[in-house]
Amino acid sequence: MGKRVAIVGTGQTYMRSARKDVNGQELINEAVTAALADAELTMKDIDAVVIGNMDHFEGINYVDSWSVDGSGGYLKPIFKVCTGGTTGTTVAMCGYYHVASGLFDRVLAIGWEKNSESDTTGAIITAFDPVLDRPTFGGAVGGLALTAQRYMHLYGATEEDAALVAVRDRKHALNNPYAHLRLEITVEDVMKSPMISYPIKYLDMCPRTDGACAVVFASEDVAEKIAPQPAWVLGVVNRHNWTITGDPDLGSLESMAEAAAVLYQKLGIKEPLKEFDVMELYFPSSWAGLMWPEDLGLAKRGEGARLIREGITGMDGELPINPSGGVTSSNPIGATALLRVAECAIQIMGKGGQRQVQGAKTALATGFGGCSWSDVMIFGAKKPS
């Protein structure tokens, strides 16, 4: 068995549509500096660096070396990982694995993106099979719309149901000073916003964001000396399923259901809605916020909208989802899933300010990639036995 691992510090930039005042390295440096300050560490304390982004977004393919002055990785071990939308959670998992191995005590995990530097849809299409997928591929919006439409067909969900998610998460973002979009909107506003790929409308969709996030993972030997309340990693699972876009069933997310089931069994979780205090979930569109909580066992199939309509997942509800405002409020893609991890840690460390869920002791973060793969990570205030 490996070492127990905790998050002891987090940092993030303010999320913006275009950060022309900094280049990529400088953007990364802002998040790293903030994470080190949060942990009260210096770069000398860091044993290794893991970094990730969607390298085809900026067209820079040796980010590990290119970012050394931003990441602080000069003459340190650096690993670059890139797994599409899940990059941020994969960076976090890779940081966790480094520390859990017992070979490193303090590892810095970094996710970043300058979405403003390329055409997001075109760049995403280049991530898919060049022969069998790309010629007809409708980008991330199109792919998310296909699974949303299938969900409508299977369960009779409506566009208004999805709008509830957009309204909830945007409302939560009002509490988060770092969020890109801080919008007070109504279901009617979402319904009136332009259709971009039926049934997804403009206000259902995540923005394109420039931003970075960094997280410090520490071993059980040093974590409690660094942070008064570390956020302990209780479990991580990653699942991939299919190769070609037309292979998986849509309207649900098999990989997320499988990842969650494996973790729940390992940790003895039977009623996730009752047993978690907060979740930060990667919903690239509002529709994902109806479907994927079902895969996480929070609602029966087709009943995702009930969680929002009854206020269960609002800030005062039984299980607040996305106190940060989530992905539909901020989406620096390579950092997006790492923000879910950082925000879970912030909740457990009690540093959430206006977005704090009082007394949060257990938290779950997800990452989502492409049209079918998933990462799930669970955190707790109590050191695992």
């Binding site: 280049t126 022969v131 439409q149 070609i244």
Partner: protein, 156 residues
Amino acid sequence: MAEKKELLTVQSGEAEQPFNWAMGRYVSKFMTELRDNKRIVGVRCPQCKKVYVPPRQVCADCFLPMEEIVPLSGQGSIYCFTVLSFGFVDPDTGKQRPVPYTWAFIKLEGADTCLPHFVDLADPKKLKVGMRVEAVFEEQRRGHLLDIKHFKVIEG
């Protein structure tokens, strides 16, 4: 650096970086059937009997090689659809795809996976899951996924 200066960007320019992707035996079979016979083929797993389209060597579930190529009729039904109404630059052509257009998962008769492709009807009010569709082929074919021009709705 406190002084406020102009903030510049630089454009990458028009340079192309062409690739030559090998299709392998299975996808080459799929593409030559489209080109020469206007026929869509899949492949069947010897263990779970699942029929995959397009064909590929390995069944992901069983992790076994597949050999049995299965001809499909070219007809099927819509599994799910979206109508794209935002324009974006297609990285294959460098041109904006004309909008609106319909992108759908097509469940071909005899296949267990879907073939994502275009459908010739772009009205979400008229489109329905389960609608019957049929492949329409280009006159000039080259061994490419777009040898199928689109799928035509043949029956509501």
